[in-house]
């Protein structure tokens, strides 16, 4: 039993895990979080932009109404960036064990995946909402709430990632 505890301790305190140091795993996680969020946001904004461009060709005065809808899918990229920054704030990277680094990497995955997917789908929802605003500009408020519903899970993924950071031995 004691031997098992000893082995477990050695694994968790070892400088490397799977050939990578804690620093490398943590940076890998931070980069993955941003790549996921950023890619999703880029795709999501493209979807809305395509629809908004068509609307603005017909009525350039609607630019002010379209702008918030264009910006909405951009927040997941920001969540990815925040996660990446938080990795550097929460942990002393140079002294992070390999196992803790691996845990940081896993903790970054909710943001990486959920933000990527939710930004894409938020872009699609915002594109539909843009169509709604094109016909009835006064409904901008409602149109903005619909894509916000999709973002819920991106927000939760960020909360989960931050919570997991607090549980990782530093």
């Amino acid at each position: 039993m004691l031997a098992a505890v000893q082995v477990s301790k050695e694994i968790t305190q070892a400088a490397t895990w799977g050939g990578l140091t804690g620093f490398q795993w943590a940076i890998f996680g931070a980069a993955t979080a941003f790549i996921g969020g950023g890619m999703g946001s880029a795709i999501g904004i493209t979807y809305v932009s395509n629809v908004a461009s068509g609307i603005l060709v017909e009525d350039p005065d609607k630019f002010g109404s379209m702008l918030p809808l264009l910006a909405i899918p951009g927040t997941q990229g920001i969540y990815g960036l925040i996660t990446a920054i938080l990795v550097t704030i929460f942990f002393n990277l140079s002294e992070l064990s390999g196992f803790s680094g691996l845990l940081v990497f896993f903790a970054c995955l909710p943001v990486a995946f959920v933000c990527c997917v939710s930004a894409i789908y938020q872009g699609l929802t915002a594109a539909s909402a843009a169509g709604m605003v094109a016909r009835r500009t006064e409904e901008l408020g409602k149109a903005m709430v619909l894509p916000a519903l999709v973002e819920t899970y991106a927000v939760f993924s960020l909360i989960l990632t931050i919570y997991l950071f607090t549980r990782i031995p530093k």
Binding site: P60, A71, T75, I82, V145, V155, I162, Y163
Partner: protein, 659 residues
């Protein structure tokens, strides 16, 4: 803080006074005109020939104004800056000035001239396009020294200009040489991947040549039939294009006079739209052979001045105030105090409350301010937003809705300053670098110790949703639905009371954990028994009970967790600000002047971006919490909005004292 009481008025006047009554109603702007049901005694109003003509004329004049404005826009008279595409031009004026809008511009003349200009401009543009295309083609033939009217079939021989891909030129030459004996091929020029050639062949070989052209996909070129060489014709085309451009500029200069009148035309269009709305309101009236009857709703507060206005019109007008009976469905007008009034905008985004419904505006006002404050959560950003909103309200000509929105943001930003002070967030500066006084004000550290802030946001969410449940309890009691109130809402209260008792008991180890769990879960047993009561059969009640209990418990858990977004959004504001500050700080090492300039640039651009992007989130996410989590507990929309017949416009700001 309530749905305002309304009463119905009936106005009976002689038919000859119809126009005056209508005008007085629109000028007063206090009566929500209701369509009179067509009864035998009081058939609905039918438009007379004269009224139909007025409506047609009004519609036509609106399209005239729309045409002029679109003409001004299409031909570049109406160039707007980026800012002006967002903040539209506004025209503040008195009601008297507004109703005299037609005196500012001669619409018929403007329409006639602008449509004439447009017709000429379209012709000029078409001619210019054709000439430019001709010029482009001619530019490939400038080396050809031959009058173009010679390029034809004359005296047994034909001259044919062709466009051939350079890659196929050799094959084409060989085909021509081998298959059409009496023919020659001259390459005039090569431009890019195309060669421009002249073929001379005997008229008898026409069929053969055509067959080769089709086979090798060689394009024939049509050159203008003029007695000029291509280079000469090109110079002539240039002169014609220049002449057309001068003509175009002349026409645009003549149209410039209406560019200066764009504002007047926009105001006139708005006035005409109001006229049309007024004429369309006639349809709601009732009529007899010689009288016209109008029925409408007036709020209690506006009743006296409205009656006085109408009485002053003529002695031949009969007025009657009627109490609403149970068959009436009066429109809903919200009446809130000065603080909560701007938040009616947010409630209106969801939908007007049902008449029997509690007006939740003040609850929305308080909660929205708190949630907005959490999402921005920075003293500096809060201060900037308050200042920006107040300055915009003071100096920009804005509509009522935008002014209210700015007030909503100002209130929220004030609370953001409070949250910022409590969390140590000042323009995203690292709390460790703050002066000791500011540091001591911070009681939370959302970055390094997030759990207390997360719990706080969930507690706020719980309080928010419970207040919604209290409202639904009150509505049920008011309507006599005691059973629904006690079971649907009462059990929720009991559940949280039991949890509130069980958790401290368990934590203080006063009772064993199992007993605390039993106390906490006791209301769930009652829910299982009672929530399925709407089903008719016993198995149905059981299944429905399980389903409703699951929905209630899981729904409340999910909704409470949803409020965690407030923490995440607030943290996002801080972290982005912190990153911007860090990046700006790094530039200081570049050099004394460039470093400072770069730092300032990064700070201004970065912090502006941060405020803008988080302002969007701080508006949308709290709104979602209001609409989905809060309104879901009690709110029923479907009320008919109180929509008085009045002068209204998004761009003409009628001064209140005159309206």
């Amino acid at each position: 803080m309530a749905v305002e009481p309304v009463k119905k008025i009936r106005v009976i006047s002689h038919a000859s006074l119809q126009e005056e009554v209508l005008e007085a109603l629109q000028a007063a702007g206090t009566v929500h005109v209701e369509r009179l049901s067509g009864t035998e005694l009081l058939p609905p109003k039918e438009y007379s020939d004269e009224e139909q003509q007025s409506l047609r004329t009004c519609t036509f004049r609106i399209s005239q104004a729309e045409f002029i404005l679109s003409y001004l826009k299409a031909y570049g008279y109406d160039k707007r800056s980026f800012f002006r595409t967002i903040v539209k031009d506004k025209y503040p004026m008195t009601l008297e000035e507004f109703v005299r809008a037609h005196e500012r511009v001669d619409l018929d003349r403007a329409y006639a001239e602008c449509s004439e200009y447009e017709r000429h401009l379209v012709e000029i543009d078409e001619k210019k396009t054709a000439l430019e295309q001709e010029r482009e083609e001619l530019s490939n033939w400038t080396e050809l020294q031959l009058d173009m009217d010679e390029i034809a079939c004359k005296h047994m021989y034909c001259l044919l200009p062709l466009r051939v891909p350079v890659a196929d030129l050799e094959a084409f030459g060989q085909a021509l040489a081998s298959e059409v004996i009496e023919s020659t091929l001259d390459v005039v020029s090569e431009r890019g991947s195309r060669a421009y050639c002249m073929v001379v062949y005997h008229l008898d070989s026409l069929g053969l040549v055509e067959e080769i052209l089709t086979r090798l996909r060689v394009e024939k070129v049509t050159l203008p039939d003029v007695k000029l060489e291509p280079a000469e014709r090109m110079e002539q085309v240039d002169r014609e294009i220049a002449a057309l451009e001068r003509q175009r500029e002349g026409l645009l200069a003549r149209g410039q006079v209406y560019a200066g009148k764009r504002g007047d035309i926009e105001v006139l269009r708005e006035y005409l739209l109001n006229q049309k709305r007024k004429l369309e309101a006639l349809e709601q009236f009732g009529m007899t052979r010689s009288t016209v009857v109008v029925e409408g709703w007036v709020t209690e507060g506006e009743m006296e001045p409205t009656l006085e206005n109408l009485e002053a019109l003529s002695e031949e007008i009969g007025l009657e105030v009627i109490e609403a009976d149970h068959e009436d469905s009066p429109p809903v007008s919200l009446r809130n105090g000065r603080f909560a009034r701007p938040f009616e905008l947010l409630v209106g985004l969801y939908g007007t409350p049902n008449r029997r419904e509690y007006d939740p505006t003040w609850l929305v006002a308080v909660s929205f301010i708190v949630f907005f404050g959490f999402c921005i959560g920075d003293v500096g950003y809060g201060l900037v937003l308050v200042a920006a909103c107040l300055l915009a309200r003071r100096f920009l000509p804005l509509g009522e809705k935008v002014r209210n929105l700015l007030l909503v943001i100002s209130y929220g930003s004030l609370f953001a300053m409070v949250i910022g002070a409590l969390t140590g967030s000042w323009f995203g500066i690292d709390p460790a670098s703050l002066p000791p006084l500011l540091e001591t004000m911070a009681v939370f550290d959302p970055l390094r110790d997030p759990i207390p802030v997360m719990l706080l946001t969930m507690a706020l969410g719980l309080a928010h949703m419970l207040s919604g449940t209290v409202v639904e309890f009150r509505d049920n009691v008011k309507e006599g639905n005691w059973v629904d109130a006690l079971i649907d809402q009462g059990l929720v209260f009991l559940f949280f009371i039991c949890l509130g008792v069980a958790i401290p008991l368990a934590l203080a180890e006063v009772v064993p954990t199992s007993t605390a769990v039993l106390i906490g879960c006791a209301p769930i047993a009652l829910m299982l028994l009672l929530l399925g009561r709407s089903a008719k059969s016993v198995p149905g009640k059981v299944i429905n009970g399980v389903y409703e209990t699951y929905n209630t418990v899981v729904g409340w858990m999910g909704d409470t967790i949803s409020y965690l977004r407030l923490y995440a959004l607030g943290l996002a504001t801080f972290v982005i600000g912190w990153v911007v500050n860090t990046l700006a700080g790094m530039t200081l090492g570049i050099g004394p002047v460039i470093g400072v300039l770069l730092m300032l640039l990064i700070l201004v651009v970065g912090q502006t971006f941060n405020v803008a992007i988080n302002l969007l989130g701080a508006f949308v996410h709290p709104l979602r919490l209001e609409f989905v989590e809060f309104f879901g507990k009690f709110y029923e929309d479907g009320g008919q909005r109180f929509d008085a017949l009045k002068y209204e416009s998004k761009i003409v700001m009628i001064r209140e004292e005159d309206a």
